[in-house]
Amino acid sequence: MTERVETQGISDEHYNFAYLDEQTKRMIRRAILKGIAVPGYQVPFAAREMPMPYGWGTGGIQVTAAVIGKHDCLKMIDQGSDDTTNAVALRNFFVETTGVDTTTKTKDASIIQTRHRIPEETLTKDQVLVYQVPIPEPLRFLEPRETETRKMHALEEYGLMHVKLYEDIAKFGHIATAYAYPVMVQDRYVMDPSPTPKFDNPKMDQMEALQLFGAGREKRIYAIPPHTKVVSLDFEDHPFEVTKFDQPCAICGAEEVYLDEVILDDDGNRMFVCSDSDFCEERREAGHVGHLGTNPLEAEGND
């Protein structure tokens, strides 16, 4: 559903287009170009204070604000959904400050800003995926000092990262890291894919869309151009494994998608449904049905 915004024009009186002043946009744009030229490398930038707290994704917002134009169609997702408080608030922010079209449909969007998920639908070369990143430095929990992590990236000293993953194997028999699972970009930089589930990691590899990452608090921008090699770190004897779900989506029957657990009632009944709400809706509209039939939540009028 592409909704036409009614607040168009109001923005011009109160804000610059997309909120940021032109000098700030130029600075962010230059950082984006460097990020594209050196995939996976974290470019420092002078992040601005935004009219929302850091946890809301100020880095992603600044990247989107520097990229977006009046002809764009924006999709805003959080945990795979267009309807969470965070997604709605950020979408409204851009509606008010740009007047652009917005959509919930992945395929209709020219810019998708996301937190925690990559859409299930394959993205195309005409799309830009903007990630909100809380902690951009994959080595931070191993080495708190920025000067040291910079040196480690400079020297490709990634042994510690492998040690950490191997400790998982020693402790759990497998690599337990399930979110923000580190990747190697184009055989050079170890990168944090933001707190997406590792299920989404393979989608980053050779993706046709441009991927941009913005971290507001830590003031970093990084990028993965289209058709770039992105490999999840692993070991020969313990290869990277994608999270497998032992059942399909309860309401659309999709397999090999990322599922969320939804509590249905006080008796502890639950179901697993697509985390990507647009993907699930499209499938149901196309006639696909899961083992629970229609969505029990909608049937109860809980919509």
Binding site: R26, I36, G69, K70
Partner: protein, 210 residues
């Protein structure tokens, strides 16, 4: 002041910059972004009402006006550096400080590839900050896809043929050397009349003998 008439002041005023500074800059940036994200692919700029002083092209000027400001030391090739009209125009619209040494430049504007100094003389960044490097805006007469040298790397699905004209003998050799510095190195945005093409340091170049 009192001896100048209004018309004499206007006569000296630089030609206008981007007609719509906000939206024109956004669309030019998007072309530059796509250019570096898809090396060797020609990106057409939207129609811009821009009449920069000779010898600047619309595309090269649009890039400089979109990306440069007082934070970006700018190096001009010797022909531009001695052209007061060009310098006034760029100074007026960007406030970018001009630098004498290519190694100090965040951006370089080169109006003719024959005036390009050794690529190694520009800033390549350092191991900890490879982003502290020069981006060269290089004016060329022709940008041609699917012909010429072969490009491979991020942003290119398999490989991509690309050529520029004019292309001096040592140019591609120098760009090939530049890519061996990765992740250091310079990035180029070629500016045709109204098109741009990106060539980041991450692109591997082969097929020079052809």
């Amino acid at each position: 002041m009192s001896t100048q008439t209004a018309s004499s002041i206007f006569a000296k005023a630089p030609a206008p910059g981007l007609a719509d500074p906000v939206h024109d800059a956004q669309s030019v940036f998007r072309s530059a972004m796509n250019a570096l994200a898809q090396p060797g692919t020609v990106q057409q700029l939207d129609n811009l009402t821009l009449s920069p002083p000779a010898p600047l092209s619309v595309a090269a000027t649009a890039l400089v006006l979109t990306l440069c400001d007082y934070d970006t030391p700018l190096w001009l090739d010797p022909a531009l550096a001695t052209n007061e009209t060009v310098k006034n125009y760029i100074r007026f619209h960007t406030a970018a400080p001009f630098v004498e040494s290519p190694a100090e430049a965040a951006f370089a504007l080169v109006s003719d590839v024959k005036l390009l100094p050794a690529i190694a003389s520009f800033a390549a960044g350092n191991a900890e900050y490879p982003d502290r490097s020069t981006t060269i805006v290089l004016m060329v007469d022709e940008l041609t896809e699917d012909d010429g040298i072969t490009l491979k790397g991020p942003g290119i699905k398999t490989e991509k043929q690309f050529s520029i004209a004019p292309a001096p003998a040592m140019f591609w050799q120098q760009m090939q050397d530049n890519s061996t510095l990765y992740p250091l190195g310079i990035d180029i945005i070629f500016a045709g009349t109204n098109q741009v093409v990106g060539l980041p340091r991450s692109t591997k170049i082969t097929g020079l003998e052809a």
